[in-house]
Amino acid sequence: MALAKAIENIFPQRRKRRVLPGFGLSLGFTVFYLSLIVLTPVSMLFLKTFDLTWAQFYGSITSARVLASFRLSFGTAFAAASVNIIFGVLLAWTLVRYDFPGKRIVDAFVDLPFALPTAVAGITLTTLYAGNGWFGQYLEIFGIRVDYTPLGITVALIFIGLPFVVRTVQPVLEAMELDVEEAAASLGAHRWYIVSRIIFPTIRPAALTGFALAFARTLGEYGSVVFIAGNMPMKTEISTLLIITRLEQYDYPGATAIAVTMLVASFILLLIINVLQARINRKASSV
């Protein structure tokens, strides 16, 4: 009590800052619920890795089958995020800068992959691209096989990742003031020069954030991929499926090793996203 009084005397603004009630309650409840639902289970996973010796851990994540699954998961997630950064920026640009009939519907459509359950997306895309499917039958004529190939996995991940790029780039484009572009135009800059020198640099952090979000989200994707992938070990078996296989064989250490590796990868991505986000906010506040 005395200490609290002393602190309040030293930092008078500390008291003023908390005019609103509920700090203790909301802090207590938020931290409690977060610890119960999220932190305890996640830390348990990391504790579980200590059951393994380093050699066991290293051995299980460098076995040929696991390495092949990592290559596939990271590779397809990267490819899908790369496609999404191009078409996502294009789509965000179209939605913000151009007018066309049905624009609102298209805008609402962008969130479909987020609202649609991943398993529904999975069976839908597989049916679509199967040899007798709406798209598959025409692609077959050109000798392109989508289902049961890494290409199919990439298609599913493009579907899942699209909203993340569009929805991070869109608000930045909306917030861009036209006066910079006007100034550049008045100074004689050509449109392409303005687009490449003013607009692209402004939206680059947002586009990269969207890329990282899409990559992080699709890296651990399961429902939309498992139907279209074919799940052949060494060829079309993604890491998340391999985790499930290991769990079904009661190989908990093996599953834990793969899961921890993927979790660390997503933590690193989350860190990068936060740094990028901070940069966007700084840019926004300096404007």
Binding site: L20, Y33, V106, P117, A185, R191, M262
Partner: protein, 304 residues
């Protein structure tokens, strides 16, 4: 700037207009190509898949459709899905409001860490989310033996499904509310408190009206994701027909057994939900924008 040149008589008015528009937007053919590519992408990747769900679901007529969604297994799956959402969503809503109030209205050390931790489940793979609970409550898990001795079943039972769904949909309400609450600031609430309103009264009379559309959208998204969660639930469910199958799991089983029409019929229930979610989102977005612009203009006239 261009006005200066015009005023200095360097540019005739007509040229001015041409220069402005050609430099501030793309030539018409570029615009049409960009719109065309964007729309083609949306149609191929989003619209056609959505249409396919309904075409396949009603392929054998409405009678077959209603038969498929009213089989005992399907009804059990629907019931379990509704139960799961009815537990997971309210809990995450209470948490979301609490977290948003904390983060948007107060400054304290460790706030950024807390915000990052709230986002954590969003980047954790659904499969890993489910696995976390297997490691905790599974037979070989930390509490496995104790639970087995006391005859409590969490994994391969309803509690596990509910828990992993709560985890997987954890951040959605908070993520939606935090920016909206931050935007509306603390002044209105401070005024209410200074005028003698209690904390709860301030929340219900001042804060809630400001965030109601954001909250609505947060709830509907959280609900859609809770009902549609697949990866996490798939790990903990055990796929016991009529007992631990949610709607997405039921669709998976039917699909794997080549009951394609039945699978899409069951899946269409969640697709309807997704479409409704998108519509409510659009409405909420418009309302939030309108609300933001009126509060801005109010404060603007206020300072005048």
């Amino acid at each position: 700037m261009i006005g200066l040149q015009y005023a200095a008589g360097k540019l005739p008015e007509h040229d001015l207009m041409v220069t402005r528009s050609s430099r501030l937007s793309e030539p018409r053919w570029v615009r049409w190509i960009v719109i065309g590519i964007s729309l083609l992408f949306v149609v191929v990747f989003l619209a056609v898949p959505l249409a396919l769900v309904f075409v396949k679901a009603f392929e054998k007529g409405t009678e077959a459709y209603f038969m498929a969604v009213t089989t005992p297994d399907a009804l059990a799956a629907i019931k379990l899905t509704l139960l799961t959402a009815a537990i997971a969503v309210p809990l995450n809503v209470v948490f979301g409001i609490s977290a948003a109030w904390l983060i948007a209205k107060f400054n304290f050390p460790g706030k950024n860490v807390l915000t990052t931790l709230i986002d954590l489940p969003f980047t954790v793979s659904p499969v890993i989310s489910g696995m976390l609970f297997v490691l905790l409550f599974g037979l070989q898990g930390v509490f496995g033996r104790w639970l087995d001795e006391h005859n409590v079943k969490i994994i391969f039972a309803v509690p596990g499904i509910v828990l992993s769904t709560i985890f997987a949909t954890f951040p959605f309400v908070a993520r939606e509310l935090i920016p909206i609450m931050q935007l509306s600031g603390t002044e209105e609430e401070e005024a209410a408190v200074v005028l003698g309103a209690s904390g709860w009264k301030t929340f219900f009379k001042v804060t809630l009206p400001n965030i109601k559309w954001g909250l609505m959208y947060g709830i509907i998204v959280c609900n859609a994701r809770a009902m549609g969660e697949f990866g996490a639930v798939s790990v903990v469910s055990g796929h016991i027909r009529g007992a631990t199958n949610t709607i997405p799991l039921q669709a998976e089983i039917l699909y794997n057994e080549y009951h394609i029409t039945a699978a899409f019929s069951v899946a269409s229930l969640l697709t309807f939900l997704a479409v409704v979610t998108l519509i409510i989102k659009k409405v909420a977005e418009i309302k939030i924008r309108r609300q933001a612009s009126t509060t801005n203009s109010q404060s603007f006239t206020g300072t005048l």
